[in-house]
Amino acid sequence: MKGLTITITVLLGSAFFGYLFAFIAGLCRLSSNIFLRKFTGFYVEVFRGTSLIVQLFWLYYAIPMLFGIELGSNWWAGVIAIALNYGAYMSEIVRGSILAVAKGQTEAATALNMSRFQRMRLVIFPQAVRMMLPEFGNYLIQMLKATSLVSLIGMTDILYYGDIIRSSNLSQAPTVYILVLFFYFILALPLIFLTRKLEGISKKGVAN
Amino acid sequence: MTEPIVTFNDVHKSFGDVKVLKGIDLDIRPAEKVAIIGPSGSGKTTIIRMLMTLEQPTSGDIIVDGTNLWKMDKKGKQVTANEKHLRAVRGDIGMVFQHFNLFPHMTILENCMTAPIHVKQESKSSAKDRSIEMLKKVGLGDKLDNYPSQLSGGQKQRVAMARALVMRPKVMLFDEVTSALDPELVGEVLEVIRDIAKDGEMAMILVTHEMDFALDVADKVLFLDEGVIAEQGTASEVIEHSKNDRLQSFLHRFRN
């Protein structure tokens, strides 16, 4: 199955940029700069408020029309769409975790005479990240599922090849799609176990 | 002597490999008030919970009013009781929990009247009248339409007692009913239990750390230690005149 590499690279790309956007947006929303806060707030609401598939088509079809630029390739269109979408969702987790930890721990850290930056770096951030881990794992599975959408913008992923085989031999359709589903499930399995493990880790070192 | 209402015959209980109760023998007569004292982890709660059918004994028999609680006959063979059998026996027993366990989605009147209506098929008006009467008796006649969240811990615990009492059990179980309460609220709850005890005909088993209260109310006191009844007798025998070293040192911690 050639499609596997495409699915995996799209997943890795989406995950990398997704987490990156999540941290940037999550921290921006906690910044004291009101412009930054409002702007990222707008980004988050727009991408959470509309469908991924709509965003994907929009990036793929509309962006080139609007600005006359190409995103380079449909790989980038797919990765950016998934990353922007899940980045928006996960930024809420980043923000929520930091707020949750900050609530109880800021006073303790202040009592130790730490600066604002030290508080964040030494006390709050390490705990908040631990709190985020299980949700991040869950979203990784969501992103894997989302990669199936890139076949709709002409990328040759697992589903694309499945569709090709199906259209050349209709009676094979059940076998083909079951196989495709199992491919996704096999990719998901390590992520499922990873998430469970992360849950265990996050239960340990967080004050509640 | 009258027949006992509750009998434990060589009852053992283990959780996994941990032996918690190692052979409990016990007779409780109708109207008898029994206090169980003992260090934390000695198995007091477990005894009560087995009687309430919340926990199944590992071996031994518990007889309630002549019926084996956890076993029943099936084609001449003794088998583990099913839910139907348990329900039939459970009607004789009521329980007040350490953490109240009131139903938070019901008013306190509803907390009291729901079981008589649905479990005992009592008419709504009679269940309501009796519930109000009982709530008045525990001093909460003016709170009928409040929700548990609006009450203090002491008040909640008094509702819990009223709720158990309207079911007219023959045996009432109290598991450290004052230990989740702020110290100033303990008195009002003990007062209500004293009242109930005076009324008479119901047997009561009280797990408690309030020694003066046990002296006052209990006909019999059991000292439970590491899963066995290490000492038993009248309240004054056990609490005031025992020679048992471990009991002495246990009691010492409750004397100032």
Binding site: S51, I53, W58, G68, Y177 | T46, H99, F100, A115, V119
Partner: protein
């Protein structure tokens, strides 16, 4: 902004809007299906028999961790070819089944979390008052288990609303489908797709705020202190 045309926008708007009824209808249908089917999973998971429990857990995990798009294709393209039980389903019904089943696994977990959230002491109190199994569920457990899940269930309505455009891939003529066919016809995707995005935003953003409010209200109603007290457990 060289290629943006308000004329195209105005022309495409009513056409895209025609699909809104289908999109909303499909959302509601999928949602109801998932709400009902979710009970089925919750029930299956409560069967106290290890092998069944294990199988159900993994079937749910399978459905949940594979793409709904593929599941949709399976039901629409492959199901008719399945020997014996296979039937041809129209796109709308396929979408209800595909998305409905996918999300029922999530809804089932929501129900489960609601039931698990009811304190152990409540089960014990119900037992001590000798309620029957049915009474225990209807009078004590469910009335406490369901209200806290309402915000989560509301969230899933919004999530499903946003997944429903997947059905355009098998030809369900919702707003995305309308926009795409307009785009294909006049070779201008920008405006119709923007309209779709705006429609989604208009509908889901206020609902999200509403649910947020609901959640806050629920939290306040739910008796935090009581829950804390009793969650310390029955044994001490």
């Amino acid at each position: 902004m060289s290629n943006w045309s308000w004329e195209v926008f105005a022309e495409a708007f009513p056409i895209v809007l025609e699909g809104l009824g289908i999109t909303l209808g499909l959302t509601i249908a999928c949602y109801l299906f998932a709400l009902i089917f979710g009970f089925f999973w919750t029930f299956l998971r409560r069967i106290p028999f290890k092998p069944i429990n294990w199988i159900v857990t993994w079937v749910m995990e399978f459905i949940r961790s594979t793409p709904p798009l593929v599941q949709l294709f399976f039901i629409y393209y492959a199901w008719p070819m399945v020997p014996v039980v296979g039937v041809t389903l129209d796109p709308f019904t396929s979408a209800i089944l595909g998305l409905g089943i996918h999300f029922s696994t999530y809804i089932g977990e929501v129900y489960r979390s609601g039931i698990d959230g009811v304190d152990k002491g409540q089960w014990e109190a119900a037992k001590s008052l000798n309620f029957s199994t049915k009474q225990k569920w209807t009078k004590i457990i469910l009335p406490q288990a369901i209200p806290p899940t309402i915000p989560m269930l509301g969230n899933y309505l919004i999530i499903m609303f946003k997944e429903v455009p997947l059905a355009s891939t098998i030809g369900v003529a919702g707003i995305l489908h309308m926009a795409n066919s307009y785009g294909a016809q006049y070779w201008t995707y920008l405006e119709p797709l923007t309209i779709v995005a705006i429609l989604f935003l208009i509908m889901s953003y206020p609902s999200a705020i509403l649910i947020n409010k609901l959640e806050k209200k629920m939290n306040r109603r739910f008796d935090k202190k009581e829950a804390l007290n009793s969650s310390k457990g029955a044994t001490a």
